[in-house]
């Protein structure tokens, strides 16, 4: 059974058909790539899945439950988290505080105990802080933990965004163009980290324009154009697909 099943999903903005009757499956522990020209509807798809937009019609079924139209925080609590195309971070907070914020949904102690600063609440906070440091180390940002997020260079800001997403312990992670603004060395490092995430049993859907990353990382690729799926298959199949090449990849591929 698919972890995430998108059924006949449509989103119309007045005169603009952002997505038309899209059908998509995401399977456990796979890395699925979604590519397509700008405006193809990739970010709209992410917005719909994570509750920033409500669909015009169609269903989004995650682990057997239709999550279409739920609030974003409700969807995150069910295990679906996304990163953002632009660096959306708590700019005036340190990296450590940024990641710590991602742990919010895991607190089990009741809020009144947190208010009274009981021992149990305090210990939960210690656990949260430890996890935050672990995540920063995983993404290689540990030495920057007390640095303000706004001071970070662009590539590390994207990495921090992934850290925050990881703090929510997602089952399904949607990465929206994580390699944008990264140099080849940073991109290679990112690719290794994404593979490590899959080893930790996190299913990943990746939107990227960096073709090398997509071809190397993804088990399967879905190609969108003008809000419709025009191709689906393994990286080799997509590379050879003439429709895709016409729409997007360019002749050298």
């Amino acid at each position: 059974m698919a972890l995430l099943k998108v059924e006949k999903l449509s989103k119309f903005f007045g005169g603009l058909n952002a997505l038309t009757e899209l059908e998509l499956d995401v399977f456990h522990s796979e890395i699925l790539g979604i590519i397509g020209p700008n405006g193809a509807g990739k970010t709209t798809l992410f917005n719909l899945i994570t509750g920033f937009l409500a669909p015009t019609s169609g269903r989004i079924i995650f682990e057997g439950e239709d999550i279409a139209g739920l609030r974003t925080d409700q969807i995150t609590r069910r295990g679906v988290t996304r990163t953002f195309q632009t660096s959306i971070l708590y700019m005036q907070a340190t990296c450590f505080e940024n990641v710590l914020m991602g742990y919010h949904m895991h607190y089990r102690q009741p809020k009144w105990k947190a208010f009274l600063h009981t021992r149990a609440a305090y210990e939960e906070e210690s656990v949260a802080k430890r996890k935050a440091i672990e995540i920063l180390e995983f993404m290689g940002l540990a030495q920057l933990k007390d640095e303000l997020a706004s001071n970070l260079p662009h590539g590390q800001q994207r990495a921090l965004g992934i850290c925050i997403a990881l703090a929510t312990a997602p089952k399904l992670l949607l990465l929206d163009e994580p390699a944008t603004g990264m140099n080849p060395k940073e991109t290679a490092g990112l690719m290794k980290q994404i593979k490590k995430l899959r080893d930790r049993d996190i299913t990943i859907v990746l939107v990227e324009h960096n073709m090398r990353a997509i071809m190397n990382l993804c088990d399967r690729i879905v190609v969108l154009n003008y809000g419709e799926k025009i191709a689906e298959g393994s990286p080799q199949e997509i590379r050879g697909n003439t429709q895709v090449i016409e729409a997007y990849l360019g002749k050298e591929y």
Partner: protein, 325 residues
Amino acid sequence: MKYSHTKWIALVLFVLALVLPFVVQNPYYLHLITMVYVNAILAMGFALIYSTGLITLGASAFWGIGAYASTLLVMKSGLSFWLAMPASTMMTGMVALCFGFLLMRYPGVGFVVFTLLICFVIERMFVYIKIFGGWGGIIGIPPPNPIHLPFYSFDFSSKIPYYYLSLFLFLVTAIFFYSLYSSRIGRAWRAIKLDSRLAEAVGVYVNGYRLAAFVVASTFTGLAGSFYAHYSMTINPETFGILKSIHIQIYAILGGLESYILGPLTGSIVFTLLPEFLQISPEIEPYVTGTVLILIVIFLPGGLAGFAQRIPTVLFRWYTAIARK
């Protein structure tokens, strides 16, 4: 933030506050300081809502609800002040909850406008609904019933017990709010203020947390209202109008919102006492105050408290600059 300095300053201020009535005998000055505490509670309430990224212009309305509710409970229902105070406080909270559900749909500018609307509507309500006494309001509000402790009796016939009661209420509010700010609830509020979309994306129920802040702030504002009614012994709708809401904003914002507790307190101290001590004729006082406010907005973005925290650093720099010459 200079955390250790803050603790020492707070301790010194606390001791000063405790002994003040023995040093300052003039009842008018005691009255001013009592009002400082009341205004500080109101300003801290504003700051609490601001900590989630919302600006309210309706604080004075809830101050009024607490005041009128407490008054009516004592004068019409015969309740003791000591029961009426918590009761009216809770009632204010419940009214805030009702408005809150509606307000949460419109964060941002909508929220400001709607709280302003609440301010006007509540003020009109106090004028036109008979039981609130119309434009003249209610006079002859009884003081709190005396408390009889084994070794001492407090009776509220002089300003001094009122002073300590308002100080007590201020401290309760400050400690309650500080406890919230330093917990994960405060952290969630900070996240919401910095970027509410991101907060929602990581699982924070933004509207719920904002509603909670709004209700808590309004509840304590109502508490201050209950005190005020039985302190000044007369209340009228004008006291709780839009002008007071603006004053509350001034206490909070110009006091400095880097600290949600010391900033409002600073602003409340300065802007309650300043107009009194400037001793200018009433005609030009607004212009002078207005000019001061504008200057502060332009030159001191951290407000007065923010500036005060930087004084040691500024002085040090001046000293080293002069010493080099």
